[in-house]
């Protein structure tokens, strides 16, 4: 227990060595808390649903509506807070599906390195990696009906191959190590080797990549939503708010600028946090 605490303390120290990681942590915590308590925090949470009030439409930021209102008279601040949920949900779901899938595919291929199975699995991975990810995601989202669910699906489909590659690299290099050979000799089955031997060794690079990926998932999701392929009206989504707002630049700048700044802040937060976390693991390696 004490050693764990010691390790935690050490990790925190490495993390906090770069002050900017703490900024990231603060932003991420704030975003998560806002998302979780959105109905309580948002001044007008009902503005995130089917709501119109033309009397207050297109209002510049004022004391009643801190960040102004959109064309339907909905409070931008409330809608920004409301959009955090789907934004976070997307990255959580995308990563929690693509990481295990990628890990399993990659480690199986790595374990059987040199076999036909390896070739097939990794070539399939290569094929997925051979199209720019946003192009593929958009094509998939286009074939399906536009919705948040389908945009998550599309992003997941293009995301797992990266983890497959990562896991493949680690697994194929570990395969020849003595303890794996020993485990094989003592009759360990494939699942044992994958989850007991490969997994612990993959955790730090995978975790590092994951924290850095959250930002990219959010950007990709926002891009899809910008194109109208994400969350559908009247529910708020950051990309969609920007694409609607563009038409009202520069007069009603608040409709575009605040969502844009929100995206930047969230992604910045996760990137900084990711850098901090990768610092923990990188220094451990040294």
């Amino acid at each position: 227990m004490n050693r764990f605490a010691e390790k935690l303390k050490r990790s925190w120290f490495k993390f906090a060595e770069s002050k900017i990681s703490i900024v990231g942590l603060v932003i991420v915590l704030a975003v998560v808390l806002l998302a979780v308590f959105a109905p309580l925090v948002a001044p007008y949470y009902d503005h995130c649903g089917a709501y119109v009030n033309f009397a207050d439409a297109n209002k510049a930021p004022c004391s009643q509506y801190l960040l102004g209102t959109d064309l339907m008279g909905r409070d931008i601040l409330s809608r920004l807070i409301g959009s955090l949920r789907s934004t976070l949900l997307m990255s959580v779901i995308v990563l929690s599906i693509s990481v295990p899938v990628g890990f399993i595919v990659g480690s199986i291929a790595g374990y059987y390195k040199g076999s036909l199975l390896d070739t097939i699995l990794m070539r399939i991975t290569d094929i997925f990696l051979s199209i720019p990810s946003l192009v593929l995601a958009m094509a998939i989202a286009a074939v399906l009906e536009p919705s948040l669910k389908n945009s998550m699906l599309a992003i997941t489909v293009m995301w797992w191959p990266w983890y497959a590659r990562l896991a493949y690299g680690i697994a194929s290099s570990m395969k020849a190590e003595n303890f794996i050979i020993y485990a094989e000799l003592t009759g360990a089955k494939l699942p044992h080797i994958i989850f007991r031997e490969f997994l612990p060794n993959c955790i730090s690079p995978v975790l590092t990549k994951m924290t850095l990926d959250v930002g990219y998932v959010i950007i990709t999701g926002a891009s899809l939503s910008f194109a109208g392929l994400g969350e559908q009206a009247p529910k708020p989504a950051l990309g969609n708010m920007i694409s609607t707002g563009i038409d009202y630049l520069p007069g009603s700048w608040w409709m575009t600028i605040f969502p844009a700044v929100t995206i930047i802040l969230i992604v910045l937060g996760f990137n900084l946090l990711g850098d901090g976390i990768s610092n923990i693991f990188n220094m451990e390696d040294n």
Partner: protein
């Protein structure tokens, strides 16, 4: 070192492979001319540039929407020409006669008209144009399909139409017969499914015009713009200040339109801009707004065959869920509530409804419907055209109101092409669609027919009334030659429609177009789709432009 040289060459080779896969040298570089943007040189001086929501179809046999109509009517001449009071006047046809039974019409064709190609325009071309339109069966063909039995040239200057049945609005409909150059097209047939006519020149007309109109097409940039110049040999006189040419852009993103208007890179802004943007543009220096009451109405097309909108009471309930006051004041400013299923400017339209924003009434109607117990479980889809941002407000407003009575509404946006695709079958047509419709001809019966008759092939019948009695009544009314009698028949049909409530009319909204008043005159008067953009009637004074 030799080795480095080899590598360098390899990189260059690969790079050129990369760039080389786009088009051979025979293509002209896209965007080398005609493209807009930046501070436009002297070349832009006499132009009229405007935006549409989509790429216009410039083939008279396929185009029928606003963008297409506006483009076609400037490049082609129609047989007869509409007037601002809803009548027609001679154009290519100088005079016409009707047989006793009203089945045979003969038109005298002008002999002094030449096409852009230099070919003279003859009655042959007129007959060819009608037959081509009917054969291809798209665009405005629905105005004549099933009516015109035979179109022929009696001699070089006489064109004869033989109808299979009497058809009252024929003259009004002939406004939409645009005459194409048959000889030119014959030279440009490609293989296709029209027998001796090959593809009927359809591929050629994707990027060329074959008309005799006041303007000739100079360039088509797919999905970007079409542009053209004045046809100096036009048979009518040009005012010296008529525009020297035009560019019609195929997209109307608000921010672009605003920026271009403010920089005088666009002469007229389109009417599909949101109310906020129109207000912003109209307030710019030297820009004024003109409204043209084209009879455009914004309505909810309701799928009469799909659950749960297949119940008349249910449909009526929807009429009470719309906040008409906000619609007219905020969402579509300048509009007035429309209580008629067809455009109120048309002679013979009847005030059928007395809808108001009334949630209690809506609940009453819902209680009367067969979904009284189950409507909370149904999901209704409301679709809007993604190029028209104001309609989203309509949809969202409706959704918010519907939520209050417990109706579950899903708002969906589609591009126009998809909406047309959806409209092609009962199954795919959404419950509700917010769209606008401008009269294509100045006869109420034509609009009744396109909206409600089960035989209509176009998207306008998205309501799928599919009612034999109404079909018969419309057919009957259209056959009446006498205008007064016909109008009375139209009114009778609308009285019968009250109970059915086939669609929910929302407002009649004028076209609100902003233009560069500091250096142009623009005064559209003809209340027909596309006729706000008759270039020949506009005036441009380049010397008055700032700098």
């Amino acid at each position: 070192m030799k080795r480095k040289m080899v590598w360098f060459l390899a990189v260059v080779l690969l790079l050129s492979c990369l760039t080389g896969c786009g088009g051979g040298p025979e293509e002209t570089a896209a965007g080398t001319s005609g493209e807009s943007a930046s501070s436009g040189g002297t070349q832009a001086q006499g132009l009229v540039r405007t935006t549409f929501t989509r790429m216009p179809k410039i083939d008279p046999a396929t185009g029928s929407d606003v963008a297409a109509s506006a483009s076609i009517l400037n490049m082609y001449d129609s047989l007869v020409y509409p007037t601002s009071d809803g009548n027609v006047e001679p154009n290519i046809a100088t005079e016409w006669t009707t047989s006793e039974d009203g089945l045979v019409w003969e038109f005298k064709i002008r002999d002094d008209v030449t096409f852009h190609s230099g070919n003279p325009l003859t009655a042959e071309d007129v007959a060819y144009s009608m037959n081509r339109l009917l054969t291809i069966g798209q665009g405005y063909s629905f105005l004549f399909t099933g009516i015109v039995e035979k179109a022929e040239a009696v001699d070089a200057t006489t064109f004869r139409i033989t109808c299979s049945k009497t058809y009252g609005p024929l003259l009004s409909a002939l406004v939409r017969l645009y005459i194409v150059d048959s000889k030119l097209l014959a030279e440009n047939y490609e293989s296709g499914s029209y027998g001796e006519f090959g593809d009927y020149g359809m591929n050629y007309l994707l990027s060329h015009d074959a008309g005799s109109g006041a303007y000739c097409l100079t360039e088509v940039q797919q999905d970007i713009s079409i542009s053209g110049t004045r046809f100096e040999d036009y048979w009518k006189e040009f005012d010296p200040n008529s525009p020297e040419g035009f560019i019609f852009y195929a997209s109307n993103e608000g921010v672009t339109v605003k920026a271009m208007m403010s920089r005088q890179e666009l002469e007229i802004s389109d009417q599909y801009q949101s109310a906020e943007n129109i207000a912003e543009i109209a307030a710019m220096d030297g820009i004024e707004m003109v409204t043209n009451t084209t009879g455009q109405m914004v309505s909810l097309w309701v799928n009469n065959q799909k659950k749960p909108t297949d119940d008349p009471h249910f449909r009526k309930a929807l009429g009470y869920l719309m906040d008409y006051a906000s619609l007219c004041e905020v969402v579509l400013p300048g509009s007035i509530q429309n209580n008629s299923v067809i455009s109120p400017v048309l002679l013979g339209s009847v005030e059928m409804y007395d809808f108001s924003y009334n949630l209690d009434k809506a609940k009453e109607e819902l209680a009367l419907s067969k979904y009284a117990d189950s409507y909370q479980n149904e999901e209704i889809e409301i679709v809007w055209d993604s190029a028209t941002p104001d309609r989203e407000k309509v949809a969202l407003m409706f959704q918010a109101a519907a939520q209050q009575v417990g109706l579950n509404v899903k708002v969906v946006q589609h591009p126009w092409a998809t909406i047309v695709e959806l409209a092609s079958s009962v199954e795919s047509s959404p419950n509700l669609t917010v769209l606008s419709l401008t009269p294509q001809c100045s006869d109420a019966g034509i609009q009744l027919n396109t909206l409600l008759h089960s035989g209509t092939p176009t998207w306008e019948k998205m309501s799928w009334v599919e009612n034999d009695q109404i079909d018969a009544a419309i057919d009957e009314a259209l056959a009446i030659i006498d205008t007064e009698e016909r109008v009375a028949a139209y009114q009778a049909i609308q009285e019968d429609l009250k109970e059915i409530c086939p669609m929910i009319p929302l407002v009649q909204s004028p076209e609100r177009l902003c233009y560069q008043a500091s250096y142009m005159e623009f005064n559209p008067t003809i209340p027909l789709q596309g006729y706000s953009f008759v270039l020949r009637d506009m005036r441009v004074y380049p010397e008055r432009r700032a700098n």
